[in-house]
Amino acid sequence: MTLATFAPGEPLERVGHRELRDKLGPMLEKISASHSAVEVVNRGRSEAVVVSHDMYTVLLASQRELDDVRDSVALLLAAVAAGAAVPSDTLDRLGIIIPVDLDALQAFQATYPVRITHGEDGQRLGRTPVLSLESYADYVDEPDEFVDVDE
């Protein structure tokens, strides 16, 4: 499924509170099956949009993609300004060639905080869980009673 399911400029089907309450089950089935969306209105004012779960997932992913692109555009602009030849498919496609200056590149990378979004095989990286380090100090020193099998 893609965002194309939402036709730009095409008005959404609208339902009022009462109608939504009365037809909730069939309406949710319809939304889920058609991947469509319904606008919920109250006294003529739009209050919510109900979308299928699949469409919600697509919307979230699209937002994430947009965040990535926004970050990488900022990165590429900064790299170009610094004369740092960041390897880039986008710059290659645009025919923008930055002469390779390893000194400039090394200096640039040290000062530019890049958010790596994808792993080496192209898969999206998940968020690193927040680590709890409060009790770490208790485990730093090996207790004497441990047996070292190497000795």
């Binding site: 990535d68 958010r115 792993g119």
Partner: protein
């Protein structure tokens, strides 16, 4: 943390990568240090396909065993290349550790760790990289006799650790994650040898 590392990217600036040679003696051998390839490199498999010794070795052995425990089964190390031995494209990927692909920032060359030039060194005074895939084990006494080329700065070790963790486990830790872990570890280590990093002073609140 009293003073953060002088970098926010994948690696520190070249000038902060190695401990200055005049201070190196204060630093015990540790993970991430650059070591001379022993003269009898072939005995340990530290030679290329034409049986020429590797340019150098980077220690990947746990630091604690390089001290009092003595690394009884040999010290783990990996092969070091000159950066100019690879293509221009690969050089940029090694220095950054990522590339921009379709609007994403994607890890590149996960097994390769950038190493800065060692100031004033005849053959290693140029950019290098270590290949985490090409490992050897060499007796500690052999490596000690061969000698250490340069001690990695504490900041550089953060970068090497981060790279190694991604390569081995695919844990994409941020620099801040690795820094926090190292900070807690070093601050809590009352037997820490040599100068401490500026970002990990000794803790005084241990009971």
């Amino acid at each position: 943390m009293t003073s953060p590392p002088p970098f926010v990217g994948a690696y520190p600036p070249d000038g902060s990568f190695w401990v200055p040679s005049t201070e190196a003696a204060k630093y015990p051998w540790r993970y991430g240090d650059l070591v001379t390839t022993p003269a009898d490199a072939k005995s340990y498999g530290a030679v290329d396909s034409k049986e020429r010794p590797w340019r150098a070795l980077m220690l990947t052995h746990p630091s604690c065993e390089l001290g009092v425990k003595g690394a009884p089964n040999g010290v783990q190390a990996v092969r070091v290349y000159w950066l100019r031995e690879v293509s221009q494209r690969q050089r940029t990927q090694v220095i950054l550790g990522f590339a921009e692909v379709n609007g994403h920032t994607q890890v590149t060359r996960a097994n390769q760790v950038y190493l800065a030039p060692v100031p004033g060194h005849a053959s290693l005074g140029e950019r290098m990289y270590a290949d985490l895939r090409q490992t050897v084990r060499i007796p500690a006494e052999v490596l000690l006799a061969a000698g250490r080329v340069s001690a990695a700065s504490h900041d550089a070790r953060l970068a090497v650790l981060r790279r190694d963790v991604y390569f081995r486990y695919r844990w994409a830790l941020s620099l801040d994650d690795v820094l926090s872990l190292e900070q807690v570890r070093i601050e809590s280590d009352t037997a820490f040898a040599g100068p401490r990093p500026q970002w990990a002073a000794a803790r005084t609140d241990r009971s």
